[in-house]
Amino acid sequence: MSLDIGTFRRMLRERLDEELSAYLNACVRCGLCASSCHYYLTDGETASIPGYKLNRLGQVYRRSTGFPRLLPRREHEEALTEEMLESMVDVAYGRCTMCGRCGFHCSIGLDVSRVIHRLRGILTELDRVPKGLGSAVLAAVETGNSMRITREEWVDTVKWLEEDLRLEVSDEKASMPLDRQGSRVLYAVNPREPKFFPLSLSAAAKVFYAAGEDWTLSSRFFDITNYSYFAGDDAQAARFAGNLVSEAERLGVQALGLSECGHGYYAARWHVPSYVRQKSRIDVLSILELIWEYIREGRIRVDPSRNSRRVTLHDPCHLARKGGIIREQRDILRSVVSEFVEMTPSGEKNFCCSGGGGSLSMTVFAERRRGSGRVKAEQIKRTGAEVVASPCHNCIDQLEELDRHYELGVKVVTVTELVADALALPERR
């Protein structure tokens, strides 16, 4: 089965903004980007070289430009064959997490992740999105969150965690408010938290309690993940991010506080306002920004001796390199742990753990995901750390899998959990 190239070109033209045009025209296929990609570093295949990936879209783009044709087009130039489409799916979904690292090191300065995002969008429109990722998007469309958690389950979980919080801080007035009008912050989470990692949500609640934050959760929209962003479906991504913003407006809060989720933060803070031409109507803050504000302003007191093991940090690509949250997590960790050690490289140059780009949901590429995670596993090993902190639940899932697969012997936690452990709680209010 093949696809008329005109259809593909139309879809490409619809997505052709200044950046995509520049990047597709500028690549010289020097291949020097290869050594900056965790896929290529672990499999050594040409298809994993970022320049090669970019040129899967570039080859179609160039066919519609260039010299006027002197000869009639050959058959393969008029259609995209099944093989070509499969190759596009393979590189866009199976060999790139859109981490953006190659762009930083590119001799020209091409953001390959932007091109891959656009390619994913076209493939999604062609119904070529891998099944697992498509299911996560569908779940969010149908239920408002990517893990199909019902409103009752969510509210029950919050109530149960609220009781735990009261016991832990020995304060009957401690609360995890739902739908409280006029709070300062509406806090949204990764649905993995209520489903699998309730301690993360508890930790956030404990920190908010200690800081005396005026916050609330929503009983309707609580999911910050945005798998439509991973699928390159900008319109749907805007709807998901818009749900949270609308909910924040309905509740009359001042800011939307986002739990530790790399792509969720990136999508809501940068992608949707930048690429879907939708103006930010409300402040979007990562919980890391909030926590650093609490520490800096003395709203919470922390005791680093309570986290005495050596801790290293994995920077989620969409939060750090692409999201601009780089200093906050470091400042926080230096305050709440006894020994903090950086990975090399780190910050904006950090390697992806290979759990990004929706790869965790795409089981068809699971083996490759584990294999390409070797770069991260080796980074972790070199630090000699016992604890890996990562402000992203997708990264945490991947890091835990890497821990088992590569026998790293580390504990993987969120930054907020370390903060909660280090809290010196105030006297009962």
Binding site: C27, C30, T46, S107, I108
Partner: protein
């Protein structure tokens, strides 16, 4: 005759310039308004992309591939020198020794990059006709300029090859001489707004 050759040469430079202007207009017309609240500065980001971000020890493409990096630098220096010589041929005779050395080093670099593409399977698989053709075209221009400097070929030859280079420039990878700047500006601006400086 030289005056006529130069006139045609500048005519072709203007022809390229017309493409540059058209591309700029096309990029501006596709401009996307960014509504996100900036955390950093797009302007500083652009500045950083062309200064700090270009330092070889900050880019793995340079740091981890020193031979290719040096070859690339020499190749580009020789290319621009060739173009400058053809525009202002008096330079050609003023410093022919030094210029010849630079051009020969650039030419050797060009061949190194070409051989790498031909003989390394990974790069060969990602290469296209344009990659080989553009390289050979520029090599031919550098070689003809060197030979002209040394008096081995008539001046018509380097101009003839340069005409081909300039004519082809807007249609193949040579257009990266324009899009390099556009890409780096856009990348720097995009990251700079987020407070991340390349």
């Amino acid at each position: 005759m030289l005056a006529t050759l130069r006139l045609a040469y500048f005519g072709l430079l203007i022809y390229c310039l017309v493409f540059f202007v058209a591309w700029t207009a096309a990029l501006l017309s596709n401009r996307r308004k960014d509504h996100s609240v900036p955390k950093g500065s797009g302007l500083l980001g652009m500045l950083s992309a062309f200064t700090r971000g270009m330092l070889p020890w900050r880019k793995e493409s340079a740091r981890l591939h020193p031979l290719s990096y040096v070859a690339g630098i020499l190749y580009h220096m020789a290319t621009f020198t060739s173009l400058a010589i053809l525009g202002f041929p008096r330079f050609l005779y003023a410093g022919s020794g030094l210029i010849s050395v630079l051009l020969l080093a650039g030419l050797a670099s060009g061949f190194y990059l070409l051989f790498k593409r031909v003989f390394d399977r990974r790069y060969r698989l990602m290469s296209q006709f344009d990659d080989y053709f553009s390289n050979l075209l520029v090599d031919a221009m550098q070689l003809s300029v060197v030979l002209s400097v040394l008096g081995a070929v008539p001046v018509l030859v380097p101009y003839g090859v340069a005409y081909l280079v300039l004519l082809y420039l807007p249609f193949g990878k040579l257009k990266h001489c324009y899009f390099f700047f556009a890409s780096r500006l856009l990348l720097g601006r995009s990251y700079g707004r987020r407070g991340v400086y390349i």
